[in-house]
């Protein structure tokens, strides 16, 4: 039963070849159509693959029939906007102010405003109880 790997592989491949011959006519037809489309782009002298070839590719990638990537980019843009929003919100958030007050409390360097705040007064009374 220990036939050499090569032989087994060969036999498997023979079956695969058989499978290829059995492909449905519809699939064959579509493959042939795909081939024709590809060959229609054939040029005797293909464009020089030099210099800014990548730029061309990038532009092509962005513009040409990449509908789903447009959708992806919309999603990415939405994400960026959301992230910018979060950063902005965090920067104006009163959390920083609160942190300052806490630090002041802990280091006994409270700003004057804190003593003018009635809420602070009542909180002190409540918490000292």
């Amino acid at each position: 039963m220990n036939q050499p790997e090569h032989e087994l592989a060969k036999k498997i491949v023979q079956h695969l070849d058989y499978g290829v011959d059995q492909l449905e006519p519809g699939t064959r037809e579509r493959l042939a159509a795909a081939r024709r489309v590809a060959l229609s782009r054939y040029r005797e002298a293909p464009q020089a693959v030099l210099g800014l070839a990548w730029a061309g590719q990038a532009v092509e990638w962005v513009t040409e029939r990449h509908l789903h990537s447009a959708r992806m980019m919309a999603a990415a843009a939405a994400l960026m906007i959301a992230m910018a929003g979060v950063v902005y919100w965090q920067s104006i958030n009163p959390v920083n102010e609160l942190a300052d007050i806490d630090t002041g409390l802990l280091t006994d360097e409270l700003p004057l405003n804190a003593f003018l705040d009635k809420g602070f007064d009542s909180w002190l009374k409540r918490s000292s109880r």
């Binding site: 592989a9 498997i12 499978g19 492909l23 081939r35 590809a38 959708r71 999603a75």
Partner: protein, 203 residues
């Protein structure tokens, strides 16, 4: 049989591939390429798209190569296209699945591997029906077994034995060492042997 031959047989100043040669090459390789893509993505539409993309890329960018260089080049493009497909699918499902309700896109439904099994065409009368059925059943098992292999093993096996590329070319296409190509191939063949034996199939 196949035109996958030794590049050394080609003289140095070879003429570049003509449109006819390219066409012949595609006609010869396209069905196997389709099957390869199908084993990987398990969806016939996507497999067709991948083959078409690979053909387009080869024609647009690399037709200025001698015909002997086409097979390994095409295989590399094909494998890259399959990989890109998976990468894109991953990114897409990451971002658009939660949004698909909003955009109305249909979520990629998992393809049932049974649906992609090729069943023999009834119109073949060249051999007796019983034999035909048996053969197509064996084929179905083999194709399923190949689908179930780890991607790298399947890739190595198909490139080496089906596309008849040598170890060096396969290693280059897969971007790994020749040693690991051999390991992948041997593991793949071994695994296939075990699977087939379990099904009681002797080839």
């Amino acid at each position: 049989m196949r035109c996958v031959t030794q590049p050394s047989a080609q003289p140095k100043a070879t003429p570049l591939a003509t449109q006819k040669e390219l066409s012949d090459f595609f006609a010869e390789v396209e069905r196997r390429a389709y099957k390869q893509a199908l084993f990987a993505v398990r969806d016939d539409h996507q497999a067709l798209d991948i083959v078409q993309d690979a053909m387009l890329k080869l024609t647009e960018k690399y037709s200025a190569r001698p015909p002997a260089e086409l097979p390994p080049l095409f295989q590399r493009i094909l494998q890259n296209t399959v990989r890109d497909h998976f990468r894109r699918q991953k990114v897409r499902s990451l971002w658009t699945t939660p949004l698909s309700g909003l955009f109305g896109g249909d979520p990629d439904n998992e393809a049932d591997p049974l649906e992609t099994l090729e069943v023999a065409d009834d119109s073949q009368f060249s051999e007796p029906p019983a034999q035909q059925v048996e053969r197509s059943q064996v084929l179905a098992f083999i194709e399923k077994a190949i689908e179930s292999l780890p991607a790298r093993q399947r890739q190595a096996f198909l490139l080496r034995y089906w596309e008849e590329l040598d170890v060096t070319a396969t290693a280059k296409i897969m971007g790994c060492s020749e040693g690991s190509v051999k390991t992948h191939c041997s593991r793949a063949t071994h695994a296939l042997g075990v699977i087939l034996r379990k099904q009681g199939i002797t080839l």
